[in-house]
Symmetry: C2
Subunit: 373 residues, 2 copies
């Protein structure tokens, strides 16, 4: 649906709450997007930007990345009300060359700023073969996948990273200075699904560790340390000053450091302890930085040949003899594409708590939500 339609409906929307697993509901992705757009536009976010944010949040739920999904909407709304997010995302050019740009986001919406940054990188790559755009003074930008998919849809390889508030130390230290930052890469194919690697560089996500904690399950060794930095399999330490280990020890930490350098230092933006957590100081901007690269495949070789060769390579990989314990070889992003297709049809499962918070946030900003069962 075009943004204009959505704006007209901004102050009302309807959602169908079907019974889901255990204590939750199954919701239609379109209902959730409309709810998000209505709520965001009510607090001053332009309709097109509200749609970008809604697509990012609901898209994450569709792909099963719920920790980056619609459950973030209430804190986004709260930050928009209290001033921690600016509803209008300025996109001020600090510096520019033929192949690069540095943007000041003025405390706007991370998803909006990163999407625009990738659009600019794509435009530069179209002319120069490669384009890179850094953003500073931004905020939480959610899942990295949608930004690299922009590049994929333009026939390019997309790369995105971001920094975030500190929840882990540097390798060998105990002082929280960084986080399990992500490298996200998208690669186009022909008939096969594009490759979309979205790799947070920690051994596990916080969400997965909390899932173990809720169920009283121990963690595999090597995921977590306690607040003193000693190895632990007790997932509860993630809530009590423990931290998630980087993948491959010092190697993953080195990659995290590079994400921080590109997102925070190359942009002249905030780094590590200068960043605010999404849930703290709601009237203050978080100051995240982002960095995106678009590589124009056709500037190197024929795009169609590349696409077809990617298909062949994917098929050859998937035809490998299976290792013990595997039923299928999956490409990066493949399971997320399948899950999204299924949840587009069947609905997205959300807990009662998350739905209650969404409805309360919508109500607070004056959206009249008609719920049907």
């Amino acid at each position: 649906m075009p943004p204009s339609t959505l704006v007209a409906e901004a102050a009302t929307c309807s959602i169908t709450l079907r019974p889901g697993d255990s204590d939750g509901y199954l919701l239609d992705a379109r209902d959730l997007k409309a709810l998000a757009i209505a709520s965001l536009t009510q607090v001053g976010v332009p309709a097109a930007d509200a749609e970008t944010v809604a697509d990012g949040l609901v898209g994450a739920d569709l792909r099963g990345m719920n920790s980056h999904g619609i459950l973030r909407l209430p804190v986004y709304i709260r930050r928009l009300i209290e001033g921690g997010f600016s509803p209008v995302s300025s996109f001020d050019l600090i510096s520019e060359t033929a192949g690069t740009a540095l943007i000041d986001g003025g405390g706007g919406l991370g998803a909006v700023l990163t999407a625009r940054a990738m659009d600019l990188a794509i435009a530069k790559a179209r002319k120069n073969g490669i384009g890179a755009v850094g953003v500073r003074n931004s905020n939480h930008n959610g899942e990295g996948a949608p930004y690299v998919i922009q590049a994929v849809e333009a026939g390019m390889i997309g790369i995105a990273t971001t920094n975030g508030s500190p929840i882990m130390p540097v390798w060998g230290g105990k002082t929280p200075m960084t986080g399990p930052l992500p490298i996200t890469v998208g690669v186009p194919t022909h008939m096969e699904k594009p490759i979309v690697l979205d790799a947070a560089l920690g051994m596990s996500s916080r969400g997965k560790i909390l899932y173990h904690a809720e169920r009283g399950q121990q963690l595999p060794p090597g995921w977590l340390v306690d607040a003193d930095g000693n190895p632990t399999t007790d997932p509860n330490w993630v809530k009590n000053g423990g931290w998630i280990l980087p993948i491959g020890g010092h190697k993953g930490w080195g990659l995290i450091l590079m994400c921080e350098i590109l997102s925070g230092l190359l942009t002249g933006g905030a780094i590590g302890q200068e960043l605010t957590n999404l849930y703290d100081d709601l009237d203050q901007p978080q100051h995240n930085g982002h960095f995106v690269i678009a590589i124009d495949i056709a500037s190197f070789i024929d795009l169609d040949s590349f696409r077809r060769r990617m298909d062949g390579y994917v098929r050859a990989m998937k035809a490998s003899e299976l290792a013990p314990g595997f039923e299928e070889i999956l490409m990066p992003g493949e399971i997320e594409f399948r899950r999204a297709a299924r949840q587009e049809r069947e609905g997205i499962h959300l807990s009662r708590k998350v739905v209650d918070e969404l409805l309360a946030a919508a109500k607070e900003v004056g959206v009249q939500v008609r719920t049907t069962a």
Copy 2:
């Protein structure tokens, strides 16, 4: 010493063999470089190219990356004699834009081709903010560090990757299709040592596992699987069809896949099983592909400010409270810089076997080596 001097001395050189640890020798880095240059020029490698290769090999030994060091020289010489390496590294432009280039290396020397590719990427970044160069039809290019250090010396962030012959399967498979490919990144600083991350994306190097095997030591869990893909702590499996696991499981494998896509598919070059191992089919090119990126920091922010802020960040990280088991916080590349400084003074330790092979290879190509004790 300038290449011209070395060429004049090509057919003779002298090395001092001082007694080293256990059964080996301590050798001066300059002696080793002169030996490598003399041997390479004798089989037709131009003097400047021979110096690039020698610098790469001996530089790896200096930094302690011996698996990429001078021990590779005999097989390089053998390949140059038998035709698997072309002594003259052509650098044919297949495609070019303002910010990118694709090079056909014509089966030349990997180190020479990658160094030239990074020079070209740096020149493009100087004009366009960012430059990326792919190389196909190349060969083994050794350690990635020297290429990103070229960018660092130009005040830029350098990124390099390569593909290699298949020694590990895709994630979930058993058929060898790729390797623990490396991501190498270099970042300039002011007074602090530059950051040089050289991360092969496997849990360990083959060399380190063989070291455990020689000493009859078990491996930590999570490094290796046996030939059937079952977890093992027996290091001998690395010689018998087992394979090194990627860092972070599917995450590290996804990053390896991206290295393969940039080095092999984006370049229209060879991938996975199409590549030849350095020690097999010595009369055939290996067909490696490489991919390098240079990012001009001054195109984003003031370079001097960046350098000083990097210094401050490095110092803040190193001042972290220490985790258990750590005596110091080290930046990526720091230990290698220290080791290189020490070994420049004290000499490089090589086993008697490696020295014997170096001397035999030199003799075979007509280099008269005067050895002194």
